[in-house]
């Protein structure tokens, strides 16, 4: 598994250089350098408040950084609007699931196809043949994504009415529908039961093998991190304190002290 997708490969998909984001004088992220390589699963870990989600928000364009650069596929995307970044090929999910609750599951995923379709105002108004073809195509693709995550039978249910675990998968399906090359997942296993977590892990493993896809994820569940990551980056107080293979990170005294140690004291 992990070895076949070595981090060492020089093919960088996403990198950040000196990334800094400040909130009211507090550096949430402090000159972070990050490199994500094509085809790997990279986990970003660290205690609560370490700045992981802020990194995601900067990468996906929701926040503009105070300093530093984000480079995706060789081009700077720093400060770009979120929808532009999605069209370039980065899709994400949220820590506290953000679906379109009063729309059907199918419509949720169809929304993901928005950036890959082009019907304009007039062709939508007059329902031109081209527009109808595109709509049908959008629906087919969305249906495929739904069955990929095993939710096709809920296609016509409202997103707010399906189970929590299914909502997590629906959000991933929506992200996949944007046809990303980098999938950014914010704590995908949070709130899932052990079986759902195992299913998620094998789903992500399958995903990374079958597609030209790279996955960047924030994760708290150490079983998930150790189980599927090729590379782990540890953050604390906005700073990268360590990175390496999962097994090395697991035994890194600095990490144990700063992160694992602290958490075990709490727990």
């Amino acid at each position: 598994m992990g070895l076949s997708r070595a981090h060492a490969a020089n093919d960088t998909v996403l990198s950040t250089k000196g990334l800094t984001k400040v909130f009211g004088g507090l550096k949430a992220v402090d000159s972070l350098d990050l490199e994500v390589h094509r085809g790997e699963i990279l986990s970003l870990i660290g205690p609560n408040g370490a700045g992981k989600t802020t990194v995601f928000n900067v990468v996906t364009g929701i926040y503009t950084p105070e300093a530093g650069e984000v480079i995706f596929d060789g081009r700077p995307i720093t400060g770009m609007k979120p929808h532009r970044i999605v069209s370039l090929g980065i899709a994400r999910t949220f820590q506290n699931i953000r679906l379109f609750p009063d729309m059907t599951c199918l419509e949720n995923v169809m929304a993901g196809q928005h950036v890959r379709s082009r019907a304009g105002f007039l062709s939508s108004l007059f329902r031109t043949p081209g527009m109808r073809r595109e709509e049908a195509q959008i629906e087919r693709t969305a249906m495929e994504r739904l069955s990929q995550v095993g939710l096709e039978r809920f296609a016509h249910d409202l997103a707010k009415n399906i189970a929590y675990g299914s909502q997590r998968m629906l959000e991933i399906a929506r992200a996949l529908a944007t046809e990303p090359r980098l999938l950014v997942l914010d704590e995908p296993s949070s709130g899932l039961n052990p079986k759902e977590t195992r299913d998620l892990m094998s789903f992500l493993e399958g995903l990374i093998q079958n597609d030209d896809l790279t996955i960047l994820l924030i994760e708290h569940d150490m079983n998930v991190v150790m189980g599927i990551s090729d590379w782990v980056v540890v953050m604390d107080d906005g700073v990268k304190i360590a990175e390496g293979r999962p097994e090395d990170i697991y035994h890194d005294p600095l990490v144990i002290e700063a992160y694992l140690g602290r958490e075990s004291e709490e727990g």
Binding site: F94, M103, M110
Partner: protein
């Protein structure tokens, strides 16, 4: 449309089309059966339906609190009034002109404020609507006739062949406009544009993260909503043959707001029901004279207690496949 195509059951198709068809028949037959006075009431029902449809794009589909919509309505009415009375431009030609003028105004005014959230956007639209009304009262460049407004607007006409000058003709003018608008809006609802609008209403941050250009689609909603309100203004101006600022008060914007919410956000049949309530209620209860508005206010309150999601909320998904789930969903709102 999509649902209709996908679900093979012919029974479902007819069930979904039955209500609109019955309504269309009723609207067509109505003016042949009643007096001119009642036809005029039907006309104003149509105007409110058009205004409701136009605000529904902004408020219902995208969830933007627009309490200044009467401003766009006023622009449409005054563009028609001024250009017709001063330069004798035919009223029918002025309909698209009024739409464009209102749309352009919406684009210019909303561009700098479209990023404001919720209630802040709401107050700015209120301010915009009030600025329009006050400006009309103040008679800039001697164009708008001040508090008295503009008189002597012509009938919509094509030469002398077709002159819309009777109650029944006006009635059909407004309802044909409503019908065409509904057809267009249903198409948009079932396109990527309608979907993008709804996504923004449900969760603007998630919509952005899904690749939707939130700013552009919000602006589109305002521009389109304003254009439809402009059309309503055009018809209204020629029907009354005069326009004055007091027809475009904050109160009028509030009525439009209520039409959408009483009917159900983003629901086209809902808008029709809401417009019927707003326009027909005061007429039906005219015998109660002084007390009718008291009852009107109370009914608005009671309506929101009984059906907070509106009288006829938009149904999504295949109602037939999982009817129980749908019902519980409605009840939980």
């Amino acid at each position: 449309m999509r649902d209709l195509q996908n679900l093979s059951g012919g029974g479902l198709r007819s069930a979904r089309l039955l209500a609109p068809l019955a309504f269309a028949c009723l609207v067509t037959a109505y003016p042949f059966a009643v007096s001119d006075y009642l036809i005029d009431i039907g006309f104003f029902f149509g105007i409110y339906a058009l205004l409701g449809l136009s605000l529904n794009i902004v408020l219902g589909e995208v969830g933007l609190f627009d309490l200044g919509h009467a401003g766009f309505y006023a622009i449409g009415a005054y563009v028609t009034a001024v250009l017709n009375t001063r330069y004798q431009v035919p009223v029918l030609v002025l309909m698209p002109v009024s739409c464009l003028a209102a749309a352009l105004f919406a684009y210019l005014v909303c561009s700098p404020i479209i990023h404001l959230k919720g209630d802040y956007l709401c107050i700015v639209t209120i301010g915009m609507g009030e600025i329009v009304r006050l400006a009309l009262i103040n008679n800039p460049f001697d164009l708008t006739g001040g508090p008295n407004g503009v008189f002597g607007i012509d009938f919509p006409r094509v030469g002398n062949l077709l002159v819309v000058d009777s109650s029944i003709e006006y009635y059909f003018l407004v309802w044909i406009t409503v019908g065409v608008s509904i057809a267009g809006l249903v198409s948009l609802q079932h396109s990527r544009i309608g979907r993008a609008w709804n996504c923004i209403r449900e969760d603007a941050v998630a919509a952005q993260a899904t690749g939707i250009n939130v700013r552009a689609y919000k602006l589109l909603a305002f521009v389109l909503g304003a254009a439809l309100a402009g059309a309503a203004g055009n018809i209204y101006a020629s029907k009354l043959m005069c326009v004055s600022p007091e027809s475009f008060t904050f109160w009028e914007s509030c009525l439009m707001f209520c039409i959408v919410l009483i009917g159900g956000m983003g629901s086209i049949p809902g808008v029709i029901v809401g417009a019927a309530f707003i326009s027909l209620f005061p007429e039906i209860f005219r015998p109660f004279a002084m007390y009718r508005m008291l009852v009107f206010g109370s009914i608005m309150i009671v309506m929101m207690m009984v059906r907070p999601g509106g009288f006829w909320p938009r149904k999504r998904g295949a109602v037939t496949l999982r009817p129980l789930m749908e019902d519980t969903a409605d009840g939980a709102v």
